[in-house]
Amino acid sequence: MSNWDTVWQMRGTFLAGFGSTLLLFLVAATAGFLLGCLAIYALEGRANPGRRLLRALIDGVRMLPFLIFIYLLYYGLPALGLRLSAWNAGMAGLAIYHGAYFAEILRGARLVLPPGSLEAAYAHGYTGGKAFLRIVLPQLVMRTRGIMGNQLIMCLKDTSFLSIITVTELTAAANAVQSRYFIPVEAFVVAIALYWLLSIAIEALVRWAGRFGRQRGIEHD
């Protein structure tokens, strides 16, 4: 039996891992994006102690190696009385870690957003929250599409670290197959192919989304 036949026989394991990776990515990327939006809304307005603390937290998380962050959540939190399952710790870690990056990406775009459209919103009777949601945030997202797409792919690849804390996602599945049948090349090539497949799909979706910005003159070819 060739190594590839073995891989084919273990397709259930790969598929289950792939499904977990996809789910982890979708939930964490969505939650991370929402966290980033919340953070950037909280940062609206003059600097005050609360906002300085939030900036410091965002920077602190961004500057932490992801693996250590996950170790902290999974092995460190129980010492403080909070025990999360590997899956939940991994999910929360991904969402918070990438949320910090999403916040920083949006913050950069917020700094260079021409102030006129927000001022017009206030002059037309908007309150801060609604003006942010309807006027500021859509422009920020359109302006950061490319770099957001990049971050989504980083988020996808970081799911792979979760195998280290025993989450049975795609990398863990490949690792399990290779260690049982001693076929590291075949097992990991399959994993890479599946990661590429997802990355290409994300990339295509993000590229397609560029039409919204181009129609509106916010992005250019």
């Binding site: 001022e119 037309h124 009777g125 129609q215 916010i218």
Partner: protein
């Protein structure tokens, strides 16, 4: 009881970093009146207009819109909370020098946005009204386009339709034609002329002397943050009382 004036500005002063931009301004705008605010750059005209809708907050003095105090709670004397402030601001409609259209919305969406999302008007009704307003400013056929495809004059006319859609009591124009190339100035002024004929109350900061002379009921001249002359346009333009205004008018003509 007589009707409250559309805008009443009482003893308003404002400084930026110790530099006094407005000094003890008093000005009343009656309902239906068009007031042009003239003066050289840096005289405080735009700041005065931006104080009326609280985009800038005066250091001293009071502003009332249709009898209601802008920006400050009449009873407690504290700043209005965001919802109350937004409601007060919606009594005024500002047209900006740089249009400030919302680039991610179509022309029609720009005009519908405030009625639907701020005032809670049903969508169908808001759409009909928006289309009528775009028709009024001569841009009905641009409804589905995005702002970046329009000329400056067209953008400004959309901005005027957007402001009319919120049905403000007072229109504030902050140098509405200063960012336009000369060929596009006329189309915006024509729309503004129509609005004054419709009976809108308007405060217009402008450098368009012919417009100020033809359309205004009152002209106000600001110099270093003070009103140094105000009156009916005929007197102002033909028999100015101060040397400063005489000089200004000579240079503008």
């Amino acid at each position: 009881m007589t009707e409250a004036p559309a805008v009443s500005i009482r003893n308003v002063s404002k400084s930026f970093d110790g530099y006094e931009v407005l000094r003890d301004i008093n000005l009343t705008v009656a309902k239906g009146e068009v007031v042009s605010i003239l003066g050289s750059s840096g005289s405080g005209k735009s700041t005065l207009l931006r104080c009326v809708n609280w985009l800038e907050q005066p250091d001293r003095g009071e502003i009332h819109i249709g009898g209601a105090r802008m920006g400050v709670d009449e009873h407690s004397g504290k700043p209005l909370r965001s919802r109350a402030l937004a409601a007060m601001r919606a009594r005024t409609g500002m047209v900006f020098q740089n249009f400030n259209l919302w680039p991610h919305f179509t022309v029609l969406q720009n005009v519908m946005e405030v009625p639907v999302h701020v005032r809670g008007v049903p969508k169908d009704q808001a759409r009909q009204r928006a289309q009528a307003l775009l028709d009024k400013v001569g841009l009905a056929e641009k409804a589905g386009q995005y702002p970046h495809t329009l000329s400056g004059g067209q953008k400004q006319r959309v901005a005027i339709a957007r402001v009319l859609a919120m049905e403000p009591q007072v229109l504030l124009f902050d140098e509405p034609t200063s960012a336009l190339d000369p060929e596009r100035v006329g189309e915006v002024l024509a729309v503004m002329r129509d609005l004054s004929a419709d009976g809108y109350t308007m405060m217009v900061v402008t450098h368009e002397m012919d417009f100020a002379r033809a359309v205004s009921d009152k002209v106000v001249f600001l110099e270093q943050g003070k009103i140094i002359e105000q009156g009916d346009p005929e007197t102002f333009f033909t028999r100015p009382r101060t040397d400063r205004v005489r000089k200004f008018l000579d240079r503008e003509h």
